[in-house]
C-alpha cells in the first residue's frame, strides 16, 4: 500500500520517476515542466537516485542524449513542454524508428507565437505522427501512475517504443494534490529490469539509425506502424498489471455517465474533471448527458471509440489545439474519420477552447451542451467554433 501524501504534481512526477531505477535523465528546464527537471536533479544530487543527470544546453540535445543513452541500454527519461518539444521534433521519429523505449513527460503548454506559457495541447498535436505512444492524464494520481507505467509499456519486448505522457501544464503540474505514492517495493514488483533489443557496445558492435533508400523505406515505415498498433495489447495488459497491484484501473477510452447518454462530450486531459461537474448539473436537470475521456492518443483506440459512441445521437468533441485552415480541431478530425464508415453515426460538433490557458469553468461546458441541444436541425454539426472567443 502506497503512502498517502500531498505534493505539487510536477515534483510528485519526479518522485515517481525516481522509483523507476532510471539510469539517466537529460532534461532542459522549461516552464511549466521546470519543477520536474529541478526535483529530479535534486534527487540525483542528493544521492537518492543512482543515475546520471545530464545538464544539456537545449531540448534538441536532451532528446539526442536520451537517444544515445537508451541505445546503450540505459533506462532513460526526459521531460519538456511547448517550445522545447518543438525543438525536439526532428528527433522524435528517430527515437521511435530506432525503437528506443525512452519515456518523456510533456507539461502541455501553448506553442508560440505569441509567447504564452500557459496550458493547451498545441505542443503535442504537431508530434502526433512521430511514432510515439502518447497518452493523457487527468489528475496528479494519474500523472504519477502513468510515469511509472510508461517504462513497463515502452520496454516490453513486443513494444520497444518511446512513450510520452501529457500532463496539462499549470492546471496539473503546479497543483498541490493529494495522492497515493507507490512504495519502492511495489514499483520493484511491478517494473521488471530493462532488457534492450540491442545495445551499443564495443564488444559487440552494431549500427543503429542507419541509412535506407526507396528499396527499404516503405517496409521500415510499415514495420513501425504495425509495432505502434500492436502496442495496444501490451498497454492493456500493463494497465491490468497495475490495477492488480495498486487497484487503479486505466482504459484507452474512459467514460462518465455515458451508458444511457443521448449527448456525449469528449475531452482529453485535465478538462475531464471540470466537464464531469457539468454533466452532474445537466443530469440534475434531467438531460441525459455523458462524458468520454480519450486517454490513449497513439495508438488511436479505434475499436474502443466506436463502441463507446455507437448509440449516441450527438457528440461534442473538444479540442485544445487548432489545425489552421483545416477541417477543425485535430481530435475532431480523428473522431470523424473513425466514425465515417459506421452505419449509425452521431452528429458531431467541435469546440476549440482553453487556448493559451484560457479558463474554462463549469458553466462553459454546460453552455456547450445547451447550444448543441438547441441545434435540433443539426445545422451546427460538422463544423468547428472557437468557444468563448470575443466577436
Amino acid at each position: 500500500m502506497g503512502k498517502r501524501m500531498g505534493m505539487e504534481v510536477a515534483m510528485a512526477v519526479a518522485e515517481a520517476v525516481g522509483l523507476c531505477n532510471i539510469d539517466m535523465a537529460a532534461v532542459y528546464p522549461i516552464t511549466p515542466q521546470s519543477h520536474i527537471a529541478e526535483h529530479l536533479s535534486d534527487l540525483v544530487a542528493n544521492g537518492e537516485i543512482d543515475a546520471e543527470f545530464v545538464t544539456v544546453e537545449s531540448e534538441h540535445s536532451a532528446m539526442s542524449a536520451v537517444i544515445g543513452a537508451s541505445g546503450t541500454g540505459a533506462r532513460s527519461y526526459t521531460a519538456t513542454s511547448s517550445q522545447g518539444l518543438m525543438l525536439m521534433h526532428e528527433l522524435l521519429p528517430i527515437a521511435s524508428a530506432m525503437r528506443l523505449p525512452i519515456c518523456m513527460a510533456i507539461a502541455n503548454r501553448a506553442v508560440s507565437g505569441p509567447l504564452n506559457i500557459l496550458n493547451d495541447h498545441t505542443d503535442i498535436m504537431p508530434q502526433r505522427d512521430s511514432g510515439w505512444i502518447s497518452m493523457f492524464v487527468e489528475n496528479g494520481q494519474e500523472a504519477i501512475d502513468m510515469s511509472i507505467i510508461a517504462f513497463k509499456i515502452a520496454e516490453h519486448k513486443d513494444v520497444m517504443l518511446p512513450v510520452n505522457i501529457n500532463i496539462d501544464g499549470f492546471q496539473l503540474t503546479h497543483m498541490v494534490e493529494p495522492f497515493e505514492m507507490p512504495t519502492q517495493e511495489e514499483v520493484n514488483q511491478f517494473l521488471p529490469p530493462f532488457v534492450p533489443h540491442a545495445t551499443l557496445h564495443p564488444a559487440k558492435p552494431v549500427t543503429m539509425g542507419a541509412f535506407a533508400m526507396s528499396d527499404y523505406f516503405a517496409e521500415i515505415m510499415k514495420a513501425k506502424d504495425e509495432a505502434l498498433k500492436n502496442s495496444k495489447k501490451v498497454i492493456l495488459d500493463v494497465w491490468d498489471d497495475w490495477a492488480k497491484i495498486f487497484g487503479r484501473t486505466y482504459k484507452p477510452v474512459e467514460t462518465y455517465m455515458a451508458d444511457d447518454a443521448e449527448i456525449l462530450m469528449l475531452t482529453m486531459g485535465s478538462m475531464g474533471e471540470t466537464a464531469q461537474v457539468a454533466i452532474d448539473e445537466l443530469r440534475a436537470k434531467g438531460i441525459k448527458a455523458g462524458l468520454v475521456k480519450l486517454r490513449l492518443w497513439r495508438p488511436f483506440p479505434l475499436e474502443e471509440i466506436k463502441a463507446v459512441l455507437k448509440n449516441t445521437k450527438k457528440l461534442i468533441v473538444t479540442d485544445r489545439a487548432i489545425s489552421f485552415g483545416g477541417p477543425g480541431g485535430p481530435v475532431f478530425s480523428e473522431i470523424k474519420s473513425a466514425l465515417y464508415a459506421e452505419a449509425q453515426r452521431p452528429l458531431i460538433y467541435n469546440y476549440i477552447y482553453g487556448l493559451g490557458g484560457r479558463d474554462v469553468p463549469v458553466p462553459d461546458f454546460v453552455g456547450m451542451f445547451e447550444k448543441v441541444l438547441a441545434d435540433t436541425a443539426g445545422k451546427l454539426a460538422d463544423s468547428y467554433e472557437f468557444w468563448g472567443v470575443r466577436e
Partner: protein, 92 residues
C-alpha cells in the same frame, strides 16, 4: 541480396554485422558507367584519387577500372581525367 519483407526486418533496423555495408551494392543506382581507354591512359591515378566511393582500383598492369558493384556512375573520374581516357557510357 534478396530484399526482406517488413516482417523480416530486425527491430529498429539494427545492423548487427560490422562492415555489412559492403553487401549493399550501390552500383545499382548507376545510370552511366565509366569505361577506360587504356591507349589514352597515362596511369596518373587522378581517377583513383577523386573517386568519392573509393571504388576505382589499379590492376597489376597499372591501368585503372571501377568496381561496378559500388560505382554510382557520378562521372567525376571522367571529368577529372585530363588525357580524357574515361568515357561515361549509358547503362542499358
Amino acid at each position: 541480396m534478396a530484399l526482406k519483407t517488413w516482417k523480416e526486418l530486425p527491430i529498429g533496423c539494427v545492423v548487427s554485422e560490422p562492415g555489412s555495408a559492403s553487401e549493399y551494392h550501390t552500383g545499382s543506382w548507376r545510370s552511366q558507367r565509366p569505361v577506360w581507354n587504356d591507349a589514352k591512359c597515362i596511369k596518373c591515378g587522378i581517377c583513383y584519387v577523386f573517386c568519392p566511393e573509393g571504388c576505382v582500383q589499379q590492376g597489376e598492369d597499372g591501368f585503372f577500372k571501377a568496381n561496378l558493384d559500388y560505382c554510382k556512375g557520378c562521372g567525376i573520374c571522367a571529368h577529372e581525367c585530363w588525357p580524357k581516357a574515361i568515357e561515361m557510357v549509358e547503362e542499358e
